[in-house]
Amino acid sequence: MSTENYTIIHPEDTDKHYTTLNLGPTHPATHGIFQNILTMDGEMVIDAEQTIGYIHRAFEKIAEHRPYYQITPLTDRLNYCSSPINNIGYQLAVEKLLGIKTNKRIDYMRVIIMELSRIADHLVCNSVIGVDSGALTGFVYIFQEREFIYEIFEEICGARLTTNIGRIGGFDRDFSPAVIHKIRQFLVRYEKALHEFENLFIRNRIFMDRTIKVGPISAERALAYGFTGPNLRAAGVDYDVRVASPYCSYNDFDFIIPVGTHGDTYDRFCVRQTEMWQSMKIIKDALDNLPQGDHIVREPFAVLPKKEDVYSKMEALIWHFKIVMGEIDAPKGEIYHSVEGGNGELGFYLVSEGGRAPYRLHFRRPCFIYYQAYPEMIKGGLLSDAIITMSSMNVIAGELDA
């Protein structure tokens, strides 16, 4: 679906009277702060222009002045629906730079946490499609499960939304029995809730009419626009970073990559829905096969020593001071590491010139890259389509604006 396929009329070269409609910055459907200026012919969208950057927080600049470990809280605030993926993705990038190899237990723990947060992310997106199409109840049913995921995160790391989970080299504390119990509990109850949610929506003709052929994008255009993640898979390309370049022992797990056919809203919904089922399968596998081992790699130059050693041993105390002060001397080099975030390929381009802080840290934020296709996707649709397309793309202002 390229621009040549449209007869685009610009407001100036026709005597037809178009109206502009400001969708945002604060509009119930933007779920964040960004603006779409729609050019409308009655209910039909002729053109759109986005204004973003309302919550730009200059993370890339801040990151150049922070020791490596203090950047993790910044990544929390990118895609705040799935902040553990961002945290762990960043830590993986730094570990790659520092040459830290993690053991299987850490990998599996990370996989569990990342899949949990993927579920949390997709769940929000899909239920919000329901909300924007007018059905609030499904959203409420499934949102309880998101709360439960947050309770798991709280049990793991102590925070719910902006988790700051894990440390470079592993985790600050091991999974407690309560965590394992809660995850198992989640797997049971979420299955029920997800079934219920699907029954409410997926074969309901009103919902299908609202979503099928709404906001479509072809595979070629999606690739040209740099789509990744569920949105690209909905267009029919089975690109998944977890499979293409496995990290965190993802190749230990067997899961299918759901794809759609036309890249429309219904495809995106179904792809996310299936990915949630697959994530549950992965979590189950990882939990059943959770290996023994330490929860953090004790690399003395980058990882805080054990607390009891800090309390009692001089050498450990010195290392402790050094690391907290951020005086780890990272090797020179540049590295691009990507993980499969909730919205797609979340990349970290890290340039190190040695020293305590990154010389340059660039986040490849999937939202930012695919949101530019939005005007093309909604052209010729109705206002309702524009809104439901936006929510199905899962545009998250935090990730959009960095």
Binding site: E43, S133, T137, V140, S384
Partner: protein
Amino acid sequence: MLYIIYKLVLITIILLVSLGIAMYATLLERKFAGFLQDRFGPDRAGKWGLLQPVADGVKLFFKEEYMPNTADKFLYILGPSLTMLVALLTSAVIPWGPSIFIAGTEFSLQVADLNVGILYVFAIMSMGVYGIMIGGWASNNKYSLMGAVRASSQMISYELAMGLSIASLIMVMGSVRLNDIVDAQQGWNWNVIYQPVGFLIFFICALAETNRHPFDLPECETELIGGYHTEYSSMKLGFYLFSEYINMFVSSAIISTLYFGGYHFPFIDKLGLSPNVAAIVGLMIFFAKIIGFIMLFMWIRWTLPRFRYDQLMRLGWKILLPLALLNLAITGIVILATQ
């Protein structure tokens, strides 16, 4: 003279009851939604939140009165007033119960026994669109205007199918007086049994006419923010919100009158109660039916996604209208054949 005083008293009572029911319908809606969604709903104002409507009313009264300075002042105020007025007018012809006899005088529980009862209802319903259109237009806001345009086109479209479904009902009944219609439905003779398709069409159209889910496009909050009442605040907004519930109440009353036997209920008719007791029992039955329908309205609202504008039009013109015509034709044929 006594007659006029009685009618005035009756009108006052009906108005107050409509308002009261509408008020508590807001609470019912929130409670019901809460219970459907694994929550409790409002429970802070009074026991089980029973004072919540009062609290809402007080809040709306004390909100800042806001008027966009580009708005047409007169029309801006006229809009909600008209909506409220039209919403209340319909209740005039509904037979609320059998007549009460006091000292040998008959007091009918109906304000006006029009012999064009259904048509009156239909006429007033067709007026409902004015308040929304004028209000939406006068606010001078694009979202409001879009809401108003959506509302008017939706209401006009669904009036047709509604009229046709009423027409086939009239053919079955042979009268347009609501009293005749109710009296013909004693026992199990509910019209819904003879006119199931007509009932379905009428019910869907009633949802559309009252702007309820899944046809709440004029005010759908995720697209048009508030639709036609985006710019309204304070009690003017309250009027709009309130009239929706009054409309719902009246629509439920009409549906139960037309299709569900009004104040009749099987078996209870046969008990042979004295007229006054029968009137009170009938009144209660009628209100039970009304509340049942109000709950059905809400149940639908909290389950379904809403239609898109073009799908709504398609449903109205391409599905409901032919279906209603077919229903009309079949009804006619059956009546001819059985005559």
